[in-house]
């Protein structure tokens, strides 16, 4: 499987480490959000047969976190973005 790194171009997926669902990036505020919302973020995952947004870490490369959109049925990767850019688009400062 090849992951098209937004900066470094096509790289072998062996260079990357998989973390999980990209929704992990949006952790609710534990002080203000309810226990249900926090529980949902921590434990509940969708398991789609189709497009899935997930976090990958370029461990044997530039150590960047990526948001990869992958089809779980065909393994086709349709988009790769820097997690940093995704977070900034959501209005986050870091």
């Amino acid at each position: 499987m090849i992951i098209n790194h937004p900066i470094l171009g096509p790289r072998d997926s062996q260079e990357f480490v998989y973390l999980g669902d990209a929704s992990l990036m949006t952790r609710p505020d534990g002080m203000t959000a309810g226990i249900e919302e926090f529980h949902d973020w921590l434990y509940n995952r969708d398991n789609p047969a189709g497009l899935h947004r997930e976090l990958w870490y370029h461990e044997q490369g530039d150590r960047s976190w990526l948001v990869v959109t992958r089809n779980t049925v065909t393994h086709e990767i349709t988009s790769v973005e820097l997690a940093r850019d995704v977070a900034r688009k959501m209005g986050r400062s870091k």
Binding site: L8, D62, S64
Partner: protein
């Protein structure tokens, strides 16, 4: 007393080692000071300006560049490792800090790495056994993190027959063994 204290090389000897296997020469380098430079948030322009004033090249992604005194290679977005002669820049951070001020985070890296320079008329057969870089197609000046025999290293392609490899200093002997084994298998 200071006269009796001498630093050891990464391989544990007083002088750096050179190994020759057929056409392949592996040279341990002991004369380069290293530091990492990471530009702080929103300070990219200041870092660029300071580097220019110091005549320190800061190349783009997956590249290395050499200046008169300073050389550097890209390791991550807004982050580089810079090289300078050890004899004149042993205290490399104090050379960089005045230029960059609080625009960048600078960390000395000299003793974290072992550096091997590989040389041969053609390094392609050796490099394709050692790592997953398409070495024959990579341009001179290509720099990337690679894995050599389970060891995470930085590779800089200086030319078709010239490569610099930085590996973790604590794995210096293992890395050299991997290089020697691969080179021997090619004879």
């Amino acid at each position: 007393m200071a006269d009796t204290l001498h630093a050891l090389t990464a391989l544990g000897h007083a002088a750096p080692e050179t190994v020759e296997i057929g056409p392949y020469r592996i040279t341990e380098r002991f004369d380069v000071a290293l530091a990492s430079i990471a530009s702080r948030k929103g300070r990219d322009k200041d870092v660029e300006k300071a580097a220019k004033a110091e005549n320190l090249p800061l190349p783009g992604p997956a590249a290395a560049a050499e200046g008169a005194t300073w050389a550097s290679f890209w390791v991550a977005p807004q982050m580089w490792i810079v090289e300078a002669p050890f004899a004149s820049h042993e205290d490399i951070v104090s050379h960089l800090k005045p230029a960059f001020g609080d625009a960048a985070s600078i960390t000395e890296q000299t003793d974290a790495w072992v550096r091997f320079d590989l040389a041969a008329p053609d390094l392609v057969p050796l490099m394709e056994r050692l790592c997953n870089v398409d070495f024959s197609k990579a341009a001179a000046g290509f720099a990337s993190r690679v894995v050599v025999e389970h060891t995470s290293c930085y590779l800089i392609k200086r030319g078709q027959g010239e490569v610099t490899l930085y590996g973790p200093r604590s794995s210096a002997r293992s890395l050299l063994h991997a290089l020697e084994t691969a080179a021997t298998s090619l004879l």
